[in-house]
Subunit: 258 residues, 2 copies
């Protein structure tokens, strides 16, 4: 694969527990057509596979360089922006993107080299809620009412098409909404691993101070994840938040040590 | 097939001399996903076919109702707008549409009930020049340079997606992000007063737990304000955050009261 084949360094497509190898091949072809080359497979059911090669046609190099991992953490731990594809309405609304907005956001973020992962779930049931809660945004591909379930590789095609389109549109226009994600933010974003460590720390501290009962969690941690994922903290901010939790921990320690 | 499954009466997808029946099935699924149901096949190499049914999944009704004809005239003779998909640069420049423009044009035209046909050529070589010259417009799906040849069903997916998207964009007068800042969020936002009370509480608690010194504040509160203002918390979220602060306060009270 040529370096220049990859128009989107740091932007990876993550297929989670894909059942049909043909879909992996079809997704690889769709990616390469649109200038993306970084494919990560989390626990694929059947890979490598001749069926994948057959559907990939001239994108077989993407299958050869695909990274196969066993946990979602291995797939997204080092990236700054995680977007999950979601067909269903969820109980707790999550910041949603249209595919077009997803394409724009990926391009804005990719400029900063902070890494982007776009997650696609298994064919039969989509991403699990706990995987969706790892995402800052969900993206939903619109459909008619008669048949709402897109083929997996088709979904990859639509999203990758919007990513390329946004890049081409950028080249010709200069209009997009200024936000802290765009231009001159002073520090890099916390990556997904740092966010996960923060959530673990947060849950432990909230449990210690008896605000949260892991046995009767209700939706507390889900709501807090949704809340802090919306911030997309930078590295100093996540240090401050961790520092506050540690100060609370010390307070609790002093109390119990007395 | 229900009448209402067809969001685009009079808009037909025409596949010319398709080689692989799997692509016919994949195209049918992509169409039905996007609310299109009128499929016309000009001299398909292998149809009907189990491979087409397999790939169509729940769009097999589209295959059942597909019209199979032997000439392009039979396929497009009665429509008012013919658009041809074209990957290659042609010798004679033709009015070109992007997929987005194609979607808009199809919707504009469909309102007039004059019929629209979108032509897709054979997998190996695309539409013949004489077929392309039957078209008012050509539409080209952008690609990266490394691999420019889309799978046929994928091309149908992208074009049908843009047709549905244009219809949905029409429907929503103001087309912007369905983000958490819109009306479909589950709860109203905390107002400015609630935010200010939260910041006062936050600063007091952080001072109590010795994380913050109001005499040597540095930029801590500024950074925290910037951080929480980015969230735009809803009313339940601000209650949760206040609740956490109160739990920390109680912990401190117990400590000092001992």
């Amino acid at each position: 694969m040529e370096e220049s084949d990859n128009l989107f360094p740091g932007v990876r497509i993550v297929l989670v527990e894909t059942s049909h190898p043909g879909n992996i091949g079809g997704a690889a072809r769709a990616m390469k057509n649109m200038g993306l080359t970084e494919l990560v497979l989390v626990n694929p059911c059947d890979f490598p596979s001749d069926k994948a090669l057959y559907r990939a046609v001239s994108a077989e190099d993407l299958l050869g360089s695909a990274r196969v991992v066993t946990t979602l953490d291995d797939a997204i731990g080092d990236v700054g922006l995680v977007i999950g594809t979601s067909a269903r309405d969820r109980r707790i609304p999550w910041p949603m993107l249209t595919p077009h907005e997803c394409g724009v956001k990926v391009n804005q973020h990719a400029i900063k080299n902070a890494g982007v992962a776009i997650l696609f779930g298994p064919e039969s049931r989509g991403l699990k809620n706990e995987d969706l809660h790892r995402c800052q945004f969900h993206v939903n591909i619109p459909t008619g009412k008669a048949y709402t379930s897109l083929n997996l590789a088709m979904a990859v095609q639509v999203i990758c098409y919007e990513i390329l389109k946004a890049k081409l549109d950028q080249a010709t226009a200069t209009h997009h909404a200024p936000s802290h994600e765009d231009s001159n933010w002073d520090l890099p974003f916390a990556d997904a691993t740092a966010m996960e460590h923060f959530y673990v720390h947060l849950e432990r501290t909230l449990t210690d101070i008896k605000f949260h009962d892991p046995e009767v969690p209700k939706q507390l941690m889900t709501r807090l994840r949704r809340l802090f994922n919306r911030i997309r903290p930078d590295q100093m901010e996540i240090s401050i938040l961790r520092g506050i939790l540690s100060a609370v921990d010390r307070l609790g320690d002093k109390k119990t040590s007395k």
